[in-house]
């Protein structure tokens, strides 16, 4: 009776139930696909997913807690995350329509809800409240330690085994497995079949939704916002309502102690899209933010490189066809196409362009720089102004950018060492070590206060405002530290009416690409084997995107092989492979 949605045909709210358990509109007799089990479609309130049919629901008065399921927890997490994204300016449809539907679809596919018959294993579970006496007689019941050791890579929580082991020493009948109803079962499930939900996967959901609506937020940005605290991730569970008690194995599921990495979220997103049987995503066209032409512009600005380079990135993009709609748009489940990492792709294009124009062999780029320096010295300011900006000097650019980068990197390194992973809400594996945990927490708070006072005035509790740009350069600076308006004429020449690079050479990062399916990479990057300038450029974008240099290097290799495809087989002089 809570079903309040308007009928699709007649827009009335007048529902009845068919014999089959489906809703039908009494006004126009339109039968929906919605089954009776979908009681509350209201995504806003913390809806308990009442679709899992099981035995009687015990509303225990234990600690005022009530029964809750893991997927309810994740639903809350997603809600919080998408609200945060909304606060960042993402369109509201993302929450109400996109993500909501994705989530429902997921629940359906993984048979946790919205389906007629739930997974049969939900029957036997343990909750906080129960204290069954015949635990030991059941040979299939896993031990607490066994369950703790199962789970994904979070080795850290495993070290909390001492808490757990102290619990298991006590008679198992009163031991606590989880605050949620299905915590222990959740960890036992076969991961491959049903794509078990994890905290990193919530970000995959978010990214998938962002991609669907083609929001101008790249995956690397999303992850950066997470780390900077603009999107809830660490310790989201502290926003769970009081009655959702979190303990025992729930911690393994909801408490993360590592930041997710790009590769992980990216790969899982694609797995998820395929799992959900989603259709082709909305087209990524030239006017989209995620199109390489757009992203290249953004990253060129951020890297303080001349705007003129944009022409070249567009040329490369066009030449190798990575600007095509079909290449860029995601088709879930299609294993033959390469999954596109929009941001990594864009910066890789920039790297290739830099190599085309400057060679980056630790030699030529400095020569070009000297040449440019000479020209700049000899020209008057007026001339420079009228001739479209000074000659771009690689050396100057390197010095300016390196300086800023070093400062930012140092700051980032310190921040990483200063992360506070724990929150006010105490975590305990069982009621038994609650007092110990609380004592510890108190001591931690005391010590933080004591030493916090001695830290001097360095406390900056304010989060920085979320910003799409980490490095910014203003043309208004009179110290010449902004290179956007600089000209590439020092490195270009006119040949038969076309502007081409003065640099005749190019060196390939790798002559042969690895088989990605076998070893996971297209190439294997070792800093010592490549020129310092190349390493610097990789490092710059690696910092901006918060991914490993090798990740970008792979993409560079891929682009190069597309670009020089024909020439690789013709073995012309362009095939100079430079290795130190």
């Amino acid at each position: 009776r809570d079903f309040n949605e308007r009928c699709a045909q007649c827009s009335e709210v007048n529902w009845g139930l068919t014999d089959g358990g489906r809703f039908y509109c009494r006004s126009c007799h339109n039968v929906t696909e919605r089954t009776r089990e979908v009681v509350n479609t209201d995504f806003i309130t913390n809806s308990r997913v009442q679709t899992i049919s099981k035995g009687s629901r015990k509303q225990e008065e234990n600690d005022g807690g009530s029964e809750w399921y893991i997927c309810e927890g994740f639903q809350l997490v997603l809600k919080k995350q998408v609200e945060a994204l909304e606060a960042l300016g993402v369109c509201p449809q993302m929450k109400d329509e996109i993500l909501c539907n994705f989530w429902r679809c997921y629940l359906q596919k993984s048979k946790q809800a919205y389906c007629k018959r739930p997974a049969p294993e939900t029957v036997k579970t343990l909750s906080v409240c129960e204290s069954s006496t015949d635990v030991d007689s059941d040979p299939e019941r896993p031990s607490l330690l066994h369950l703790l050791s199962l789970s994904e890579s979070e080795g850290d929580l495993q070290t909390d085994c001492s808490f757990a082991s102290s619990v298991s020493k006590v008679s198992e009948s009163t031991s606590v497995y989880s605050g949620s109803v299905d915590g222990s079962l959740y960890l036992m499930k076969n991961q491959k079949e049903k794509l078990r939900m994890t905290m990193p996967m919530t970000l995959s959901f978010c990214y998938m939704a962002l991609l669907w609506v083609r929001e101008p937020i790249t995956l690397s940005e999303l992850l950066r916002y997470v780390v900077e605290g603009h999107i809830p991730y660490l310790n989201v569970f502290q926003h769970f309502p009081e009655k959702m008690k979190l303990c025992g194995l729930d911690l393994k599921i909801f408490c993360v102690e590592s930041w997710p990495v790009y590769e992980e979220v990216f790969d899982q997103m694609h797995e998820l899209a395929a799992f959900l049987d989603l259709p082709r995503f909305p087209d990524i066209t030239e006017s989209c933010f995620l199109h390489p032409d757009m992203l290249c512009m953004k990253y060129l600005m951020e890297a303080n490189l001349p705007d003129e380079l944009h022409i070249w990135t567009c040329r490369v993009v066009k030449k190798i066809g990575i600007g095509e709609v079909d290449f860029l748009t995601l088709v879930p489940g299609n294993k033959s196409t390469r999954k596109v990492k929009y941001d990594v792709l864009a910066v890789a294009v920039i790297v290739v362009v830099l190599k085309l124009l400057f060679l980056l062999d630790d030699h030529y780029e400095w020569l070009l720089s000297e040449y440019a320096e000479e020209r700049n010295k000899n020209n008057t300011e007026v001339y420079i102004f009228y001739s479209g900006g000074p000659y771009f000097e690689f050396k100057k650019w390197y010095e300016v950018v390196k300086h800023s980068l070093d400062v930012k990197q140092k700051k980032l390194d310190e921040e990483r060492a200063k992360y506070l992973w724990r929150c006010e809400k105490p975590l305990f594996y069982s009621v038994k070590n609650k007092s110990k945990v609380l004592k510890r927490r108190q001591m931690v708070v005391n010590l933080q206060n004591q030493f916090g006072k001695l830290s001097g005035s360095v406390q900056c509790a304010e989060k920085p405002n979320p910003s799409s740009f980490q490095l910014s350069w203003s043309e208004k600076n009179t110290d010449g530290s902004c290179f956007h308006g600089h000209s590439l004429k020092g490195v270009l020449q006119e040949k038969r009416g076309l502007l081409t690079a003065m640099n005749p050479d190019y060196w390939l990062c790798t002559v042969k690409l690895c088989n990605e399916k076998l070893c996971g990479h297209l190439a294997h990057y070792k800093e010592v084997e490549f020129p310092q300038s190349y390493h610097f450029v990789l490092g710059l974008f690696s910092f901006l995107l918060r991914v490993q240099p090798s990740y970008i290097h792979d993409e560079v290799c891929m682009i190069e092989h597309k670009l020089f495809n024909k020439k690789l087989y013709k073995k012309l002089k362009y095939n100079t492979v430079l290795r130190s």
Binding site: S153, D156, T159, D160, C161, S162, F163, E257, S258, W259, P260, V261, E263, E264, D413, E414, R416, A417, K418, Y419, L420, W421, R422, V437, R440, R441, M443, V444, N446, L447, Q448, Q450, F451, G452, K453, L454, S455, G456, V458, G520, Q548
Partner: protein, 412 residues
């Protein structure tokens, strides 16, 4: 795996620790405190597999910061230590001890004593037995503080005695402290270890009350029991005791013999040589020569005029008697390659002459005998000395000239 660069709790805290370490090494206490504030949440994780857990880290780092930070008070420090005591039961007594040391450094003797007494009364199941050694130390230090109290009372008593007063209360108190101190000090020195200060204090007590036998036994044990680590001070204490007891030379010499073996450069070697030289026994005199040569092998003795005079005396005596030149030969054999540059260079001749005429005199004699009158050192010094018309230098010249052939005999 590709996830190795993932930033997780453990890595983040490791990085945090290295920042703390850098800050500590550079004495940047504020910065160390800043990072420590972020580190303390490690306490909420279990590190039972690690060698040093976060609670120990926090204790040690926090102690350093609070001790040195300009804005930290002793009160805060003590408060922190109390918290640390509750953190790790296995370290309880250790933390107590360290706390006491800091209090002593800060001059808070009474608080230190209180803490020691409190710690002494601590019991915690099997931990009490496990931390037995620490408990003994605590008792020993309390005994030490009792000794100092005893010492204070003793001084009061002595002053009063001079004035003709005699306060029974003070005397009683003094004896009380003695009893308390003696019990604990005696216990700790039974355990093999380096207990210099405890031994000294205990022996002082015993001597005052006239129990010389016990004192001697204690010192002998401390010096000669092979279970105890080799400790030059043990022999020094024994020697000093025997000297106070006016023991015969023989026992004094045997006490110093081992000291010579362990620390040939010890300052007591002068005393040792002096005693040995005067001995009637040939072996002892031989040893004496060995001792003084060995001492002068060390850079710290280069400019010690007294040491050189010991050597001079003995060398003179041997040369004049013309007996046992082979002794000198033996000693010189291993030194003839490097002593000339080490002691008898022309530069040193000039410097010694400028700074210390007596020193140059003694050295010149030795040089002249060992290296002949043609050696740089002797030539320079004797020349300068004769120019300055100092009598003893003229005598020196004559002496060396007279025994000029000695150097040939000993270097052959």
């Amino acid at each position: 795996s590709s996830n190795e660069h993932k930033l997780n709790f453990k890595k983040s805290k490791e990085a945090c620790l290295s920042y703390i370490q850098d800050a500590l090494l550079q004495k940047q206490w504020k910065r160390a405190a800043e990072f420590l504030t972020c580190y303390v949440e490690s306490l909420e994780k279990d590190y039972s597999r690690e060698h040093i857990g976060p609670s120990e880290m926090i204790w040690r780092i926090g102690t350093e910061i609070l001790w040195h930070h300009s804005q930290s008070s002793m009160k805060e420090f003590s408060c922190f230590m109390e918290q640390m005591k509750t953190l790790g039961v296995k370290r309880y007594l250790k933390v107590c001890l360290e706390h006491v040391f800091h209090l002593l450094c800060n001059g808070q003797i009474d608080e230190a004593y209180q803490n020691l007494s409190l710690a002494e009364s601590w019991r915690f199941g099997e931990q009490t037995a496990i931390q037995d050694k620490e408990m003994k130390l605590i008792q020993a230090y309390r005994g030490l503080l009792d000794y100092y109290s005893w010492s204070e009372q003793k001084n009061i008593l002595l002053e009063q005695g001079e004035d003709g007063f005699s306060d029974l209360a003070v005397e009683q108190e003094m004896h009380g402290y003695f009893r308390k101190a003696a019990v604990n000090l005696k216990e700790i020195i039974k355990i093999p270890g380096v207990w210099d200060i405890f031994v000294k204090c205990y022996v002082d007590l015993l001597e005052f009350y006239g129990d010389h036998n016990e004192a001697r036994q204690v010192l002998n044990e401390y010096a000669y029991n092979s279970k105890f680590p080799a400790n030059p001070n043990a022999h020094v204490y024994l020697y000093q005791f025997l000297k106070r007891q006016r023991e015969p030379k023989k026992s004094l010499i045997s006490a110093l013999k081992i000291l010579h073996d362990i620390v040939p450069s010890h300052e007591l070697m002068i005393d040792f040589n002096t005693m040995l030289q005067k001995s009637k026994k040939r072996k002892k005199r031989r040893l004496g020569l060995e001792v003084i040569f060995a001492a002068l092998d060390y850079a710290g003795w280069k400019e010690n005029a007294k040491a050189w005079s010991c050597l001079t005396r003995q060398v003179k005596q041997i040369v004049v008697s013309d007996k046992h030149l082979d002794w000198i030969k033996q000693e010189w054999n291993s030194r003839k390659d490097w002593w000339p540059a080490f002691h008898f260079s022309r530069y040193l001749a000039k410097r010694n002459w400028q700074e210390d005429k007596s020193l140059s005199y003694e050295k010149a004699l030795v040089a002249g005998i060992l290296l002949g009158k043609g050696c740089k050192y002797f030539k320079y010094v004797s020349h300068q000395g004769c120019k300055a018309q100092l009598k003893r230098f003229r005598m020196l010249k004559k002496f060396v000239n007279r025994h000029n052939l000695v150097y040939l005999k000993i270097s052959g």
